[in-house]
Subunit: 204 residues, 2 copies
């Protein structure tokens, strides 16, 4: 629903992409989604886009440039997903909705999520700008938490630091679920629900 409006932190670099550049990016995204990070090779991206290998270098400066675009695009889409549910009169319920949207995004876009949060592409390090943009996703959550605090539903605290805590908790559960560490018997969706309950109770 926010797709028709301009996102506040949307990367400027994405706007000045020509047709070949955007085709390459789309091919890379599809490749990542369908075959995983191992399929993200320069040659496969180029051939999937129907252009020659060198375009990756002239447009993006190399493989890492493509990955960085996927990285920032991932955070933009994550921000959209968390922002989908609008604010209601129940600030606690809003936080729950936000958390569930977070998990849904991670599950539905596992490989993209792994590019954003794991070091799945060797030697790739997001630029400072990209990291700042990634961090700005926290503001969404901080705003929601601040509202819950002023409404008295949560105890007062630094909203940004609290947002980091909530984010880390959600990320941790999703992360372990996706990596399948721990006994297979663990009901991770239930653990995620437990986590949201623990967050609400622990911060009240």
């Amino acid at each position: 629903m926010t797709s028709d409006t301009t996102l506040p932190h949307y990367p400027a670099a994405m706007a000045q992409l020509d047709s070949v550049g955007s085709t390459l990016l789309k091919a890379a995204g599809d490749l990542l989604a369908t075959e995983g990070p191992a399929a993200l090779t320069v040659r496969r991206i180029a051939t999937a886009a129907g252009v020659s290998t060198m375009n990756v270098y002239s447009r993006f400066g190399g493989k890492d440039g493509v990955v960085e675009h996927l990285f920032v695009e991932g955070f933009s889409r994550l921000g959209e997903a968390m922002n989908a549910g609008q604010a209601s009169d129940d600030s606690i319920a809003d936080i729950r909705v936000c958390g569930l949207a977070y998990r849904r995004f991670a599950i539905e876009h596992q490989t993209l999520y792994s590019v954003m949060f794991d070091r799945v592409v060797p030697d790739f390090q997001p630029s400072i700008d990209a990291q700042v943009l990634a961090g700005s996703t926290l503001q969404l959550l901080a705003t929601r938490l601040d509202r819950a605090m002023t409404a008295g539903a949560l105890r007062s605290a630094d909203p940004l630091r609290t947002a980091a805590l909530v984010w880390a908790t959600c990320h941790g559960v999703v992360s372990l679920e996706l990596k399948a560490v721990g006994p297979a018997a663990i009901d991770w969706p239930a653990v995620y629900d437990d986590a949201m309950g623990m967050i609400i109770r622990g911060l009240s």
Copy 2:
């Protein structure tokens, strides 16, 4: 302190390693710790150990075999670290000590931690046995939580599921800290303390 005793889940494969094999493993571990996952190449491991490349294949079946050994060794050492503080009469304090030991391990062994929890080595997937062993680390935490529950310090719940929740929370905070996502202004050690407080309060 448990290094002179047999660990319950210590991988049997490590016991039947000859001198060359253990030298290779040591070289790989040092390489990983000092230069990061990118330095973990078959040739560098072998030359660092002073043997020829083929030994990696005859001993471990390839690079992934070495990585799997580092993987299970990492979880064994993590288990040791979390088990270092013995049980006291304050079950809540024990849990805090356990959590702090977890963070210290992750910070002190960042690259090993990334092998254990990020997909930092392309195409490496731990075997089922290794995953089970990794999951068994949860038992340590589950035991501590169970004691706190029977002592009345925490509300009753499935200990294993609660352990998964606590583990995921700690992992999430450490993980985001190590990856430096989010604003640089965030005081992650403080967030970690917040997390432990939230856990205790949220599960009481």
